[in-house]
């Protein structure tokens, strides 16, 4: 039932994108943190691409909080796109959106860079 989490990192002109797919829960912690570290090895902001993510639960929220804490420690800007309406609402309720800019889509995210 559970779709395996995967994260890959791509470079852009002004930073990196962490492209995610599958389920974001506690099992995703290691992979997501490794991907973030790889992205953060480059200068510029880190964008998180949620288009391939089909499920985020509270343990996944905790994993994202962990990544945001890493970014905050090095004063790095984090953005996100590809979230469904529902998860945008969840990110608002949990105030994650106060610490990462949520873009409507990839175009908007890239344009903002």
């Amino acid at each position: 039932m559970e779709s395996v989490f995967e994260a890959t990192v791509t470079r852009t002109d002004e930073g990196s994108v962490v492209v995610m797919s599958g389920t974001v829960n506690r099992a995703a912690k290691q992979d997501l943190e490794t991907a973030y570290e790889e992205a953060a090895a480059n200068p510029g902001r880190v964008l998180m691409d949620f288009r391939g993510v089909d499920y985020i639960n509270s343990t996944g929220i905790a994993v994202i909080v962990g990544v945001l804490a890493m970014a905050r420690a090095e004063d790095r800007e984090v953005g996100a796109f590809g979230l469904t309406e529902h998860y945008r609402e969840v990110f608002n309720i949990t105030r994650l959106s106060d610490f990462m800019t949520i873009y409507d889509d990839e175009t908007a995210a890239v344009a903002a860079g």
């Binding site: 389920t23 639960n57 509270s58 909080v65 804490a69 905050r72 420690a73 609402e89 309720i93």
Partner: protein, 529 residues
Amino acid sequence: MVQLMRRRRAEEETPVGDETQIPESNTRLIEAIPIPVGDPLETLLVTSGGPVVLRDLELESETVDTLREAGVELIVPLIGQGELLGALYLGPRLSDQPYSTDDRRLLGSLASQVAPAMKVAQLVREQQAEAKERERIHQELQVAALIQQTLLPKELPAIAGWQVDAFYRPARAVGGDFYDFIALEDGRLGVVIGDVTDKGVPAALVMATCRSMLRAAAQRHSSPSAVLADVNDGLVPEIPPAMFVTCLYAIIDTDAGEVVFANAGHNLPYVRHDGGVLELRATGMPLGLMPGMGYDETKYEMAAGEVMVLTSDGITEAHNAEGEMYGFARLMDRVARRPINDDVLNAVVAELEAFTGEGAEQEDDITLVVVKRTSSAQMSAETFEDRRQTLAKFAIPSEEGNERIAIAKVTAAVDELDLEPARLERLKTAVGETVMNAIEHGNQNRSELDVDVQVCANDESVSVLVSDRGGDRLIPEATVPDLDAKLAGNQTPRGWGLFLIEKMVDEVRSTSDGTTHTIELVMNREGAS
């Protein structure tokens, strides 16, 4: 207790020193002559330091006389840790010679070796008896708990415009608390809370009898006082002496908001209203003491937002570590202090637990029934069971990740309701988080335990009930997670589950029957396309 036996000299002379040749017919065992505790002989034997010759003894003791009559000549005390464990009584020697110093020394030495073995045997016997008694009590308590829990309501009545919650937690010794909800033919709702004096199986059986009588009488009479009078007369000839039942019976007209109740010596109900808290009074003798009793009746019209709190004395008579009693005044004060829209039930239980202290053994059963009038709109008085339709019922094993199965099944079950997509997504998230909690916290990830899920709907709302075996675990109050502290690394990044659940649905209810813990997620259907 001292048990004694001896071999008596045979009538016919038998060769000395060859015991095996004594014909059985020439010997006899005399019955054991106990030495009562406190007899002067006991003190003498404990302090004698060895065998005592009875002939030389000058002691005012009936036991000594009895022993002499029985032909006892020598007493060899068996002493263990300064306590007289037993004694050997010996008659005259076969040779008719007095017991020599060597004889006495030998017997004394024998006694000192026998005594420790006797002590061990005595302790083993006592422990076996204790273990047997503990097992018997344990089994009896299990039977009592089973009777009690089988008869308590499995579901809470759900009535439009009302919210009814109940909490029941048995003490280890299982008291006689009970509560019940009775759907009356005219659409009104009967609410019972009671307490049988005594504990264990006798209390559970009286509770079962009383409950049946109440259910029958509730359908025969339309007034609570008549119901209690009827049950009292029925119970008097049935109830064992020195037992009785305190009981409060209320009838709620769910359309008009009127509550009428009568009280047979039970805790008085409180009503939390805008201006504070009110104690509603009605007097009457407990059930089962005397026939022909009359019961006062009190009426109260509940306004929207008001809460009626019914309790058992397990709450008011609970003590803290300093021996201080929780008491009515404290309960009333705590109810009064709760915000009007607060979860009174969980708040009272949490405050009681804080008062008695963590890990304190519960003295008596604790029962709490909370009835809230949520809306004054004229609504149907049909019970929720009548109106609610079960859309799905399933069980999933407690394994990590299985909340996705629950989400998929609930989604399929509510498909026909055409919930607005955003509401459906919120419900899915709440179901996922609740099932995760049930798997992880309620069932402790034990895959042999199932999480039971039931999906029901009526015209106004859809309910998803998630049950685990977490006992009477209460849902902790959801607090807003401190994201700044989490990001600064001062708090764990976790702790989002309960917060999300509460944000996702319109209402979260928590109930327990002591074994099964159920969370009900209520999502209003308004906005359905």
